[in-house]
Amino acid sequence: MNIVQLFLDYASALVLPAILVGFPLYGMIRKVRVYEVFVDGAKEGFHVAVMIIPYLIAILFAIGMFRASGAMDFLTDLLRPVVGLIGIPAEVIPMGIVRPLTGSGSVGIVLDMISQFGEDSIFVKMAATMFGSTETTFYVIAVYFGAVNIRKTRHAVPAGLIADIFAMIAAVYVVLFLFG
């Protein structure tokens, strides 16, 4: 039974149109000058996107360099014995390192792992769970804080990383528990 797919189809097929039509429709009922108000709001889209650019450049170029330097492989080797102690297989370490840094990079890793271990492999399940249960932390920080010009992020980074690290470890155990 393809429940998730079905639910997802319904959600994307119904929720978005309902909002796209519902918001202006309700506005019209409440006598809002919908067109004028919409344009007024939409103007901001461009402004926000441009505001984000310096933050994204800063974050992405540093991450790009880091990936290109081969540091990931080194970190993987470095972490192997450490995470091995708490029962995390070495195969999923790259995912754990890359996930908070880049979204496209983590997609690549899942695809690599599928071709290397096969779709049914427990490692792929772990990596996909890691992918699905966390976000690209640094990208989200750049976009959300960049949009309002926040540079001093206080405890956002440590809190985000704590949640990420926990999710990486939890993903392994949850998958082992459900499929192991």
Partner: protein, 314 residues
Amino acid sequence: MLNYIWGGLIVLSLVFALTSDITDFVQDTYRNGTPLPVTIIFEEEYHADTRRQYVEVQLSGTDLTAHYGDSTMTGNTWPGVLLQTSAGRELRFAEEASLAEPLQTICQETGQEDCRGALQGIPAGTEWQTAITFRSVRWVKMNAIAGAALDFARTAVTLALGLIGGLGLWMGLLKIAEASGMLQALVRFTQPLIRPLFPKVPKDHPALGLIVLNLSANMLGMGNAATPLGIKAMQELQTLNETEDTATDPMVMLLTMNTASVQILPPVTLVAIMGLQINQLFFSILITTGLSLIVGITAVKLLGRLKRYREVTS
């Protein structure tokens, strides 16, 4: 902390790139300047006066192993072109030829579009035993990090500009929602649930409604909608901010709830990759994301009490 991580990423890239390049240099990974034995097989026979001739290039496993000191390399035959110029004879591998490392890297680094090297001696017969010398390869990783920095800076702009459409659409819709009183109604309904996490946001503030919308979009796996909604929520929170550039407690909370991600439905990208397999992972993702969200919220609350992370008030 972001300052240290950011600086660390950049400095570490340099350190790793440099280490890797120096290792290559010391071990002479690419055998710069040393000819590699190769057999060129002519389709019919060698023509001395033709500038381009299609040939087969044969590299034997023993030669490759001896040359590069890598016993996993195996020999093969690739299509190629023999080029004769005034400077001498060159061999060019066909574009589709897939070569093993380190040949792959040598080709990427030296060829503008193709992979070529200089040949020794004069062709004879239909099978010509000769040797090929590739151009010298140095500073592979240093070039790579410089290239990546530029590439990703460009990607950043592309990404940001790509957001304009979605941002504009949602900002417009949200303005209507605000003007029509929808947002305020949403705030009244949902604030008992959401306000405990954002105690510093005043009662009935529109930011609460936007936070609810952002989190709901995330739960439904609608990443495209979640980002504009989250940005709009941040803007509302910024109106409550007494400083210009320092995150407030509610901002950090909203951000962490987004990075830890609240998801009931898996993200669309993952569904695309995993296909039907995703059904099996539904519960593992739900449990993991739920647990990490709790950890994230707890971390925000606890870290916020530390002296170094105290909220700045002017």
